[in-house]
Point group: none
Chain length 126, copies 4
DNA sequence: GTGGTCTAGACCACA
DNA sequence: GTGGTCTAGACCACT
């Protein structure tokens, strides 16, 4: 029912924007359906302390997740994962579609045929 | 033998770094093998004027392409596309590999199987 | 843990490209292993003020060091020396090899024997 | 008695300043004592045509050699190599000393001992 | 005319 | 406060 920093297992690379990394990793954990609906997330301060980053940095990530209604902040109670499975499904679909489109766009920008692109993908390591 | 702005057909979005867009678009045009080896690119000032950006912005893009030896600048003469086809092939391979890896990484981050990923790609619009 | 301008002790000659001199001197200080790994360099603005040059000039030097991964810049935090000793060793080896090759090339271009070159070196002031 | 472009055998890299390359190569050929004292050099126009560069570029190189009195331009007659062997010896010594000092400086800038520098040189390919 | 360096100063992104 | 992008405009180096 309560998610700790260990479960999130956030890995930060100091050379890249921290709030984007936190945002990205929580968003993908949600999309992967690894996290229980309605569960409580660590508080901003708590997470900030554990990650050794400025609370504003964590707050900014939470705010963006809030905007997408993937999480819900209840004043005085804390921050919780949405209870609406369709929100999760929605973001999952979006991220997948975005990845697909981006891949197709890039291959087209390189002037590669669908054929070629697929065969390159086959060769890739999964 | 001389490439004009029309051939490059650069499209700029003012909300993103301009020099990166110029860099990206010329790089992909080269990787697509659309441009003749050894051909002369528009001068820094000329392209800047046509794109309505500052010459320094164009120069920064050119300098980065120079670093990768995709183009060659000759002071007093202008900027030219490399005459070494292997440099072009190299960047083409790199960009394709990068796209493939990035796609695979993202799908794995979403917990999707190779199977699912491929079927999503099949559905995509080419 | 923090490096100041005094430690770097940069000497600028206004008749040569400033950013190259800053780049050169920091690069050699790193190669000399005079600077602590992971230490914070002066901020772009701070160093610019102390050297009485434009911040862009300092930034350009920092960016090139960044490209070689000798330093790492973290937006909002500052600029730090790499923590990877192999990067430092690598640049040290490169700079030494370059000096050796350049010397040999020049002596050969003058048609001097290995013998003669070495004896000239012996006479030189160390 | 007359030196042609073949004897000079100039190799130009278009990506670097042309006049410097011409200057450098003639200067080193002289220092190497490869060229006969008093011999006639190709005319500015002739050399420019053969190298496919602008005559001004060749002229600039000749001017600098003139300044050092390594060559002598006689109006209406052409350009000739100096007849004074001491001028040639002088430039030879200068170029060698410069190479030696530059090598020593660089090694010192890398904090390397005379010992280390010499052993690196021994390893180098001659 | 072509590229290269530098400045002053504005405005944005991140912590 | 720290780095990043962009502009306008000056001056230099090379062909």
């Amino acid at each position: 029912m309560t998610i700790n920093e260990e479960t999130l297992n956030l890995q930060l690379d100091l050379s890249k924007p921290l709030y984007e990394q936190i945002l990205h990793q929580i968003r993908y954990a949600l999309a992967r359906k690894d996290l229980e609906l309605g569960a409580k997330l660590p508080s901003v301060r708590e997470l900030a302390q554990q990650l050794r980053v400025n609370p504003n940095t964590v707050m900014r990530a939470y705010q963006e997740l809030n905007r997408d209604e993937l999480i819900e902040t209840r004043r005085g109670q804390g921050t919780f994962i949405t209870t609406k499975p369709q929100k999760i499904q929605h973001i999952r679909d979006n991220l997948a579609t975005e990845a697909v489109n981006s891949f197709i766009d890039t291959m087209q920008e390189l002037g590669m045929s669908r054929q070629t692109a697929l065969s390159l993908l086959e060769e890739g390591e999964w």
